[in-house]
Symmetry: C2
Subunit: 350 residues, 2 copies
């Protein structure tokens, strides 16, 4: 039947622009679009997707639509979401289907979430949460065609870099395991970046919880243009995998917002701090000052096409480097690894 390309009409199911859910909706055959469609943004475009029956036949239903905006240009197919929203135990994120890494991740860190609070609960089941129990895993919640795969990273020369660090999800093994889903991973330079300066920055973000009650962290892969001698700006980035699948960001940003009571007597009056750091996906010397990577949050937002904080919130917050010390602690994990007796004491970020 498929070979004859004769399709007996079609039963349609609607796929919303966002998410993988399929809602029931059926298209009518009316060609009213050009004059009936709305000249405005809609929150979601529903559209029919053809369904071929068991015999290979499909029927165009004449039953009227049962809700949702059916845009006639999408009657046979809908390009679908650009990004998949992901809600995990330790983070929320959006996965970019084209670049095959997160568009952004967001976390809320506290002493309690890091298991450092006196009143924090012990890890689930009382067992020690251990990154050695976690393994990098392809994210089956994404369509196979758009998933990043273990084979894409294999022998790519890049580390599987966590956007949400495993160490931020120590409150349960399951939460930590979720940070090893490839939908939370982007290709990072290993030596001198993922295993060093980037890890120092992640550690600095965690240490903010000792100074601030609440720490919010956005992690954002970026593609920044460079000025060339001909006066033109160009973005150049590698794509790894065979066939090439996963894009390698030129930079990574951390955008942080912290809050704490302005004084112990007024716990509902908050002091807010914020800041953004943009690091090249490249070897960074241990001695580089963290402050040298400061970037205006609005500039990061423009580069990413995202909005992290409202203008009011940006204006209402001090720069994080004014309310705490912006200084990383250098930890040469790999040097420790070379000494066998240290291997279990300090595990390297991967």
């Amino acid at each position: 039947m498929a070979g004859s390309a004769l399709v007996h009409a079609a039963v349609f199911a609607a796929g919303a622009l966002v998410g993988g859910g399929v809602a029931a909706a059926v298209a009518s055959r009316k060609r009213e679009f050009p004059h009936a469609a709305q000249n405005s943004q809609v929150s979601a475009i529903k559209s029919p997707i053809i369904e071929v029956g068991p015999g290979g036949n499909a029927q165009i239903s004449t039953v009227a639509s049962s809700g949702g905006v059916i845009a006639p240009p999408l009657r046979y197919g809908n390009p679908g979401p650009i990004a998949d929203p992901l809600v995990r135990k330790a983070y929320v994120a959006a996965y970019d289907r084209r670049l095959r890494h997160p568009a952004w991740t967001a976390e809320h860190l506290t002493l309690a979430s890091l298991g450092k609070s006196a009143v924090s609960p012990p890890p689930e089941g009382g067992e020690l949460v251990d990154r050695q129990k976690s393994t990098f895993t392809e994210d089956a919640s994404l369509p196979a065609a758009f998933r990043s795969k273990l084979s894409d990273y294999f022998r790519s020369g890049y580390d599987r870099g966590h956007m949400v660090p495993a160490a931020d999800a120590k409150f349960s093994q399951e939460a930590m395991n979720e940070t090893f889903l490839l939908s939370n991973i982007a290709p990072q330079v290993g030596d001198g970046f993922n295993r060093h300066y980037w890890a120092y920055l992640e550690d600095w973000c965690r240490r903010l919880t000792s100074s601030f009650a609440d720490v919010y962290v956005f992690t954002v892969p970026l593609y920044l243009p460079q000025l060339h001698p001909d006066g033109k700006w160009r973005v150049t980035h590698e794509v790894i995998g065979s066939p090439p699948n996963v894009s390698v960001p030129t930079h990574f940003a951390k955008v942080v917002l912290t809050s704490r009571p302005a004084s112990p007597s007024t716990p509902d009056i908050l002091e807010l701090s914020s800041g953004a750091f943009v690091l090249p996906n490249a070897v960074i010397p241990d001695g580089a000052p963290l402050e040298s990577f400061i970037m205006d949050i609005g500039q990061v937002e423009k580069a990413a096409g995202l909005t992290f904080l409202s203008d009011e919130l940006k204006a209402a917050s001090k720069h994080i480097c004014k309310t705490t010390k912006c200084e990383v602690i250098v930890r040469r994990f790999d040097d420790a690894r070379k000494r066998p007796e240290m291997r279990r004491a300090i595990s390297s970020p991967k």
Copy 2:
């Protein structure tokens, strides 16, 4: 007040992941996220956005949330949608906020929509629809920070290339005007591409309506990697504007699906055809065969991170070049322009 960075708590409003709408929702202060959040995709993540009051103060409300998923990591801000869905008279589209051009556009072409049917209505108001009455316009429905601007294209060396062609929206001046919104525009090489081979392809798509009852066209900017001598695949693309804002796609694709009754006696039994053409954003000789740009639809989907047609539909359709002639008609509009008496007779695509 802003300077002191003391924020008196906060009244939150929720912004959905998709669309610009602000729904009423208020966050509680509970820090229950790590254990309460769902380990799954959600169709939309709602989050609070801080609202600073008239006096510059903001209050953290203790009123419980009134609906919607509030993800605690997004309590102070939400990165927002990656793409804006757009519904216009002649097309639907998604605008990419980072690249600042459409991620895709979709159209439904018929003899009637092109004003070529005997039974088609005359243009609205009876006046002639004329592209000279349309002007390129920044799309005010997009946030200012993510809009592509007229100044980005000015002296960029690139044409403002229509994704949905103006000539596909001749049924009303308003529909045509909408094709001139910069949210429907991407930077294209002018001579030899936008004004020539790409215009021939657009014309070929329109001419499909004389052979097929329904013609569906997706237009898709692409960023394709090239193999370098070092064995690595890299994407390199320009970014125009000052500061650099609008990315210049390396390629553009048209994905078409057509349907027509298999025979006049069985109007509900359809013959489907489909195909994809991928053209480099570069000078293409007039003599290049259209068939030399054929690409597998699934490959275009993988490169774009989008789904145009279900696997069943791909399997159920013949290749378009088997059901009609894949051959463009060469029209040297610019040669005509050089002769003043022809200027009004033939207007060049821009």
